[in-house]
Symmetry: C2
Subunit: 243 residues, 2 copies
């Protein structure tokens, strides 16, 4: 793991870019990370591999650091700062076109996101291996964000102690099955009229999770309309399980 740049943000958060082989990542830590007690770590991802530099993800990361967490995110293969394949770009264009046209998107979605999760999960585990020995970072580990990747990680990675998922309307077939193997405490947050995530599928996914300690939060509006207080609620969820 090589740190390639670091920036002290105006709220005192230290944001460091790193590379781990081909994987580009960002690590956000409290201002005094080197000296303070180890902070629990949250792995934070955006749905469908949106870039780690996305403003909403960065804001969530800084909010969590303000609550005492270290936060890390990486770009998945073919996403963010990483080379894109022409085939994936075509599939993404097909998906956008089908969504606009109101056509069924399950097969396009499956062909795009299924492989994305398969490739991303081992990279997140590699990243976790590299992050946990760093000074200032401790366990336990939480996961926050992209539902499909989070299901795979929570079902296969015993170091993850709690998971917060968002949306969950479109999840590849493999992860819909794996949901039953998720047994850590979880919070599923959804938007009631999420234009890209059918409500009933998200409710069915919530029902399917194997854990007994699961909570559903839903608010009005579309995909990007989550109210501010859900950030606080997610923070308290992690506080209950990671501190």
């Amino acid at each position: 793991m090589h740190f390639t740049s670091e920036q002290r943000l105006d709220d005192g958060v230290l944001a460091r870019e790193f590379t781990l082989g081909e994987i580009p990542g960002t690590l956000w830590t409290p201002g005094s990370a080197e000296s303070a007690a180890p902070a629990p770590l949250i792995l934070m991802a955006h749905n469908n591999g949106l870039p780690k530099s996305d403003a909403r993800l960065a804001a969530r990361a800084r909010h969590s650091v303000g609550r005492g967490y270290a936060v890390a995110s990486i770009d998945a293969v073919g996403c963010g700062d990483r080379p894109r394949s022409a085939a994936d770009e075509q599939t993404r264009a097909d998906l956008r076109r089908a969504l606009r046209a109101g056509e069924p998107v399950d097969e396009i979605f499956e062909s795009l996101v299924g492989p994305l999760v398969e490739k991303a999960a081992p990279e997140w585990r590699t990243t976790l291996d590299a992050l946990l020995p760093l000074p200032g970072i401790g366990g336990p580990v939480g996961y926050s964000g992209w539902t499909a990747l989070g299901i795979r990680l929570a079902a296969t990675e015993p170091r993850i102690a709690a998971a917060g998922f968002f949306a969950g309307g479109y999840v590849p077939r493999a992860q819909r099955e794996e949901a039953r193997q998720v047994t850590v405490p979880l919070l599923l947050l959804l938007q009631w009229d999420d234009e890209g995530n059918p409500r009933q599928r998200a409710l069915d996914l919530f029902d399917a999770f194997g854990t007994k300690e699961k909570t559903l939060h839903a608010n009005m509006g579309g995909h990007t309309g989550t109210p501010w207080f859900e950030g606080e609620d997610a923070g308290r969820f992690f506080d209950r399980h990671l501190k």
Copy 2:
């Protein structure tokens, strides 16, 4: 309004029994209610007219007082400390029997709870009139608990500024219609496997509420299995809208 007894509880909360005509009620206030700034008021009721002396309701009331609220509850006609009619007792027995037998309960429920709400709502408004002028009690007013009564009150009583509802699987026809007229911020809390409240009906009710600022919380387990942290969440919901 006549206070008939008062008790200082071990957490410093002042619990006062009162009567208002035929209506028996309890008012819980912070220890120093007489001198401090007026506390916002929460009207708190149990589903289907369970008594105001019920231990879970009293615990919720004391928790809210600890957050700086005054809390009041009354017994509905035919409930708690008030005279019961033989007809209502028979209907309650019919309801319990039908629930045990797994038979449809809609009509029994309608005949019991429909009139209960009709009679209770004006009494709660009378109680609100009597409480608000008391020293130590101020607006705005919140409502917490029994969904059917709360819908009627929130739809017809402009002094209610926010409402927290519980369960909501069985709600009389009149209140299912009135849900569209509820426009105050609301939090609907339900138990995913509530034995007495069909899940889909509760979700349909959440969908029907007219307010744009509505939040759904759901947790695993049966009717009485709500986790402790939902009490905190409800408190923060009221803090956002009443303070």
